[in-house]
């Protein structure tokens, strides 16, 4: 039943570009991409309950690595570079995780540690001229698929869809195994886990590594979809907030939460940006995000997806 529903959903998404216009296509690319980043964050932030507000740093590391490798003398294709970027992002994630978990930073202190690391990355990158400094890197458009660039928007659509399905597949796999159960248990009661002999440090580290690797992969997509990387945007706190807000509103620690959150927020953001932006009013979509975030924390602390599911099962009963 579940597998069938997922199959139908994927089939619909695969067929969708045939009927969408160019604008709707870009909105869907963004929906998938942010759902992907949200899903990657979800592994450490949702399931494991380690609130990281520094995930933008992994996007930045991944994107810069792939872009630098592509522009270097070796001209390494971003298709390979993205994995190098993901690996470097995982190294950074490993450092943050090691320090944070080894020294037992929890709650607000862990949040601050992740923010501080992302800010350090931002400042360092904007001061290294080889990385483009504060102006950032620009990628020339060639439209060459070998360079992760496509003339056709539909290609980006399918790549973004594949990324989202990949992250969701990873999360689904984790959820079913002992690994995922340990992660949820750590979120609910870490001390009890430890008392039962669960190596909590090792599992938190693994969650952080998987999450930062996936987020780093996403950085390559970001770079080659937007053709530019600026330290203030890819390493900044606002991007981290964009990453975490979708899974939280959709339902942190659930498989479909990040996707649902992105389906709600991304079109809402795009529409209000297009609508208010024309009259010179910027930031309206962020006000909407903020109000939604407050409302979810107050009224649906589990997020929208568990609430929806409850609604449906109650109706059936």
């Amino acid at each position: 039943m579940k597998v069938a529903a997922a199959g139908v959903a994927v089939a619909v998404l695969l067929a969708l570009p045939a009927v969408l216009n160019a604008y709707a296509l870009t909105v869907f690319v963004l929906i998938f991409f942010y759902a992907y980043l949200g899903q990657a964050w979800n592994i450490v932030g949702g399931y494991t309950g380690q609130l990281s507000v520094g995930h933008a740093a992994f996007v930045g590391v991944g994107g810069y690595t792939a872009a630098m490798l592509a522009a270097s003398d070796w001209a390494i294709t971003p298709w390979a570079g993205m994995f190098v970027g993901g690996a470097l992002a995982a190294v950074l994630g490993g450092i943050i995780g090691y320090l944070g978990f080894r020294f037992g930073l929890r709650g607000f202190y862990f949040v601050l540690l992740t923010v501080a690391f992302a800010e350090v990355c931002r400042i360092v990158v904007s001061n290294v001229d080889a990385l483009g400094g504060a102006l950032g890197l620009y990628i020339t458009f060639t439209g060459n698929p070998r360079q992760f660039q496509f003339q056709d928007q539909r290609a980006y659509y399918y790549v973004a869809l594949a990324l989202m399905l990949l992250a969701t597949g990873v999360a689904a796999l984790l959820e079913r195994r002992r690994f995922g159960i340990y992660l949820t248990a750590i979120r609910e009661d870490e001390a009890a886990c430890e008392a039962l002999g669960v190596p909590t440090f090792r599992y938190k580290m693994l969650a952080m590594l998987v999450s930062s690797f996936l987020t780093g992969l996403g950085g390559t997509f970001y770079a080659f979809y937007l053709f530019s990387l600026q330290p203030n945007t890819v390493f900044g706190i606002p991007l981290s907030v964009e990453i975490i807000i979708r899974p939280i509103i959709g339902g942190a620690g659930t498989l479909l939460g990040p996707i649902l959150g992105s389906l709600i927020l991304t079109p809402l953001g795009e529409v209000s940006r297009a609508y208010f932006g024309q009259s010179g009013l910027h930031g309206a979509h962020l006000v909407v995000y903020g109000v939604l975030l407050i409302a979810v924390v107050l009224f649906l602390p589990q997020g929208a997806y568990p609430a929806l599911r409850q609604l449906f099962t109650r109706k059936r009963a």
Binding site: G49, L51, L99, F103, L105, R106, G107, F108, Y109, V111, L112, L113, V115, A116, F117, E119, V120, I123, V124, S126, N127, A134, I237, P238, V241, I248, F276, G280, L281, H282, G283, A284, L286, V287, Y289, G290, V291, L292, L293, I294, V297, L298, P301
Partner: protein, 268 residues
């Protein structure tokens, strides 16, 4: 200037992501009062403080009170939402251009022999110190101040002796917001500001509070001093754009080795 500003930040125990944005609202309030009503920011700061007090009480009563018992993470997310709303309503209302308030009361620089003193900075610094002293007097000498400290120390115990903890929290949050409002109005003639300034102000204030130690007056003072000295030294010896690197590195080291801060009491 930085020390005076950070003193005020440091005394407040509630760490929230919206503080910087509240401060920016204090700045814009001073800006509106100055441009529309011709009120000098150095006169207007009590007004700004009062307005922010109301906002703070409203946020505490309307939002934070509902989830006091929820996990710490939820409170962080809630304040993140408040910060998003505050920052971007400021963006909608005032636009992205940097604003600056001109004070007519204090403009002449002061010459002390060969020393040049920027009077607006001096005035801001002095007022900030006076406010901080007044605040510590309030916290240590009055009944409400004692209750606030008691509730922060042990909410359950405070409830046992019959204190209305909800009301005390509201008062504390309101006073914190009022300080931020006053600080905003006071630095508005010195610091050009725009809506996104709030985020960096929040982050700087976290730095100082964590480095100095939560809820410690002396710690806040030293923390503010350390951060500003580290940043100025960094700016002199390396590049000005690298100066924040020092305060963040300092923050990471302190977080790891002395999470209670240099002068904070060890958290149980």
């Amino acid at each position: 200037m930085a020390v005076g500003l950070t003193l005020i930040f440091g005394v407040m125990r509630v760490v929230n992501f919206a503080h910087g944005d509240m401060m920016v609202w204090g700045m814009y309030l001073a800006f509106v009062l100055a441009t529309r009503g011709g009120v000098d920011p150095y006169v207007a700061f009590p007004l700004c403080a009062m307005a922010l007090f109301v906002l703070g009480v409203a946020v505490q009563r309307g939002l934070v009170d509902r989830i006091v018992d929820a996990p710490h993470e939820m409170q962080i997310l809630l304040m993140l939402g408040v910060a998003l709303v505050l920052e971007n309503t400021a963006l909608l209302a005032f636009g992205p251009e940097p604003a600056r308030v001109r004070s007519r009361l204090v403009t002449e620089p002061l010459w002390l022999g060969p020393l040049f003193i920027d009077t607006p900075r001096l005035v801001t610094f002095v007022v900030a110190i006076v406010l901080t002293l007044a605040l510590s007097m309030f916290l240590f000498r009055t009944e409400l101040g004692r209750l606030i400290r008691a509730a922060a120390d042990n909410p359950y115990g405070a409830r046992v002796i019959g204190a209305d903890v909800g009301r005390i929290y509201a008062a504390a949050f309101g006073i914190g917001a009022a300080c931020v409002g006053a600080a905003g109005a006071l630095v508005s003639p010195i610091l050009p500001f725009q809506p996104p300034t709030g985020l960096s102000l929040s982050v700087t204030s976290f730095n100082i509070v964590i480095i100095g130690g939560m809820g410690s007056l002396l710690g806040a003072f030293i923390g503010g001093l350390l951060v500003s000295v580290a940043e100025s030294l960094g700016a002199v010896f390396l590049r000005p754009s690298l100066k924040e690197l020092f305060s963040f590195s300092l923050l990471i080291v302190i977080l790891l080795f002395r999470p209670a801060g240099l002068f904070g009491k060890r958290a149980s």
